[in-house]
Assembly symmetry: D2
């Protein structure tokens, strides 16, 4: 691969294959449905399910995805994505720069957990099916939970989706567990998450966080882990827009995470210049 | 202003004022409401209204905002934001780069119309209130529509929100007009949009487009024009994610809008190098 | 214009015209020159001049552009672009996200001054040529400087390119003035900048800043104002990379411009939820 | 880790430690040197070396870095970063959006090779030192080259830095080899690259590409692989700016990599909507 690596791969090809939206004069068909019908009949959460999955959700699936999206809405001014959006907004750049810049800060330390959770839980549950037992019973899941917790503890590794630096017990996670139980939608991945939580509470006083429970529920809904970050971004975008707007309503000055008088300079013993 | 203009404005200040979300141990309050209550009770469209406006919508306001968000979902592979997202995705960059990059292409020629529409319609309707007549009747709005259309035609200017390069009659606009009428939510800005459309059909065969009708309905819902682009981005983000994902599922090669054999070189008569 | 405005404009057209670089098997020609010759013979500053202007600079023009680029290198951690890059880097995102995000914060309040300066000075000097006097003499420029200063003072407007919130006398500006004088490259735009500075020192104790002098020198070099921001970005990118790298070498934690205990919450008297 | 993972890590800390630039009233010190001295005395390539490495380069080191930066300048319109920049520029977004967006497309398939090359070569050469032989002689390097080539061939893996999809023999690589030899700057990493090239030419007719040779030379200059992408971005930014500017000088229409008539729709047999 080189930095221009695009030069002649299949040079004459322009054709692009898509299954998402077909545009014809006065007609727009998305995932096989006429957009007029979608505009009239779908909730925004159902529309998101349809465009990402290529099929309509069942009514309860749409409701559960709606709860998940709302749970991602905002966590105040301190996450890096929110700080980034506010700083860019404060510099006088357009709104799409502020929120686009905010999305760029989703990295290894921020918003990466959902996908990790989904991979961990889906591999664990798949291994149970592989073991020939399609009818899932709790003992099997409890055993798997034990394996995961002991593997983590023995290696001294954090298990993604559990524990929150600021909250002892993430209030969003608790509420989401209650909602899937009330709606009779407790799937194997969520059962696994709850079993792991029981063990971690007992051993370390650590609880499920919003990413852990949402990664489990999204797995029960059948989402590919690659959509974990995407769904988080959809849920968080309105919050980033609200913060960017609030910032522009603020006084002229720039935001800064650090002022002149907060800086420790190192290695500035004065060197005299000679070439 | 200089390029470092941030240096000492109010140096010692770190305090940030926010009205959006308050975070306390095991408690997250957004716009005054406990997030557990929001997760349980709000549709995603209502959550978006709450976080942007700072108050809960009426039931019908949430439903109308939901129709608007769905109507923005996707318009196929050709818009610049979608092309940008697909090219970045095809280069092997993470999903947040692809969609973040896509948002950067909302500029003067792309997605800028909604805000222009909202400013035009809100100024027009405000001038009627200002004229002392708070009880809006159609004649007043029809006159205003005539002013706008004649001002536009006389200057040979396009009126933002009308006409679509690809669709003769944008199917989304027609559906949204029907929905607000059915729900008895025809406000003054939408009445104005419809009056302008009547004149433009007659004179030029031009119809309302999705930005024109949504700018009108969002104005009737009381949104500041500055949220026009934000709401479009919220509605379109799921589509950008679907396209980025579809691209990564595709063969290895890069997307290109142009291949070696599509390029016309100019000014390449060989110059011999001398310094 | 609509948000999808790209659909059928000139549908069948793929051809792209370019005058920048022609790629042939084992041969790359940029602005008419074989890249092997450019690699061997040009300074990076001369290469930048060539690719932006389409022609080689004179030796002294390349040297002056080199001074300008070095003068943009860095201004510490407080500019919004640097804060943005460091926050994104601290989130574990890749280096190109950090610096790409940093560039997004060049807006009205940050790095916008250079282009404004170039427009102001180029219009002023053009008006002198227009006045039929191609042989520029100082009295003419001094009169123009007086016009600009009095216009600014009478409207209470800042004149772009003068004054720095942190520095009384921007050390970079002083050095750049000395260098163009020493090299006998004092052109009409720089003469104008210096005349304006004399008046502003006298009346308000305000001096040229780095953007003001560079906007003037770039105008004397014949650059279009549209390249003002571009040249600033080229000069500043190495600094953004150095800061992003320093950030990743730092402890794990996120940067924040604001901590939980810095926040003033407003409007959080507890509202009880009812729908 | 959670998506808000930033909340209370070290809450009260604002202090930031930096070794890059110290700002005082009327004084700016970068890497220990007064910026006035740097503006007067350094080439832009030397400035880049200083700010990234924290020390001044030797004269020849600055010259070699200059050749490398020029060699990255541009490769025409087809690389994803250039396509992205041109599409965003064509949408009417500001220049910083176009080039910032372009940087976001540096991913696994694009511009990732330089760092891979630097890691491969630096590990290989380090292992020779480790083997106790600090005095490097060619036989040792030739053996290491054989190991790398056979390891690659046996696993059927491409060796990063060799081969170009468009060029049989990348003209930039050949020129850079000649220049380091002429200047007597052939270091162990470049010797290794050349030894590998000899073997690959013989076995597969594959030559060094621009990333391979630059990764080797940068390693001989002592750069950390983490700067590989950064130096490529610095070298390529002027090209991205030139392309973005050329695009805005072009006709109004959007760029597209794909038109309506290039699209193959799949799965659009008309489904009738029922919920």
């Amino acid at each position: 691969m080189t930095s221009e690596d695009s030069n002649n791969s299949n040079i004459s090809k322009h054709k692009l294959k898509t299954t998402i939206t077909k545009v014809e004069p006065d007609k727009i068909i998305t995932r096989g449905y006429n957009q007029e019908e979608l505009i009239e009949n779908l909730s925004f959460a159902e529309m998101i399910y349809l465009i990402l999955r290529g099929k309509l959700p069942k009514k309860e699936e749409g409701e559960i995805l709606n709860h998940i999206l709302v749970s991602f809405c905002d966590h105040g001014v301190t996450p890096p994505s929110t700080q980034t959006a506010r700083i860019i907004a404060s510099s006088g750049s357009p709104l799409n720069n502020a929120v686009g810049g905010g999305l760029l800060s989703f990295g290894y330390h921020h918003a990466g957990a959902i996908e990790k959770v989904m991979v961990l839980f889906q591999n664990a549950i798949k291994s149970l099916y592989i073991s020939g037992d399609s009818e899932l019973d709790d003992p099997q899941i409890t055993d798997k939970a034990l394996d995961i917790v002991y593997a983590g503890l023995s290696r001294g590794q954090k298990i993604p989706g559990f524990g929150h630096r600021y909250h002892k017990r993430d209030p969003r996670a608790r509420k989401l567990v209650d909602l899937v139980i009330d709606k009779g939608h407790l799937g194997p991945h969520t059962k696994l998450a709850i079993s792991i939580e029981h063990l971690l509470i007992e051993k370390k006083g650590i609880y499920l966080n919003v990413d852990g429970i949402n990664g489990a529920i999204l797995s029960d809904l059948g989402f590919n882990p690659k959509f974990g970050l995407g769904l988080f971004m959809i849920g968080r975008l309105p919050g980033l827009i609200a913060h960017s707007y609030e910032e522009t309503m603020d006084d002229e000055e720039f935001r800064r995470f650090c002022d002149i008088d907060d800086i420790n300079y190192e290695g500035f013993e004065n060197i005299t210049f000679k070439k």
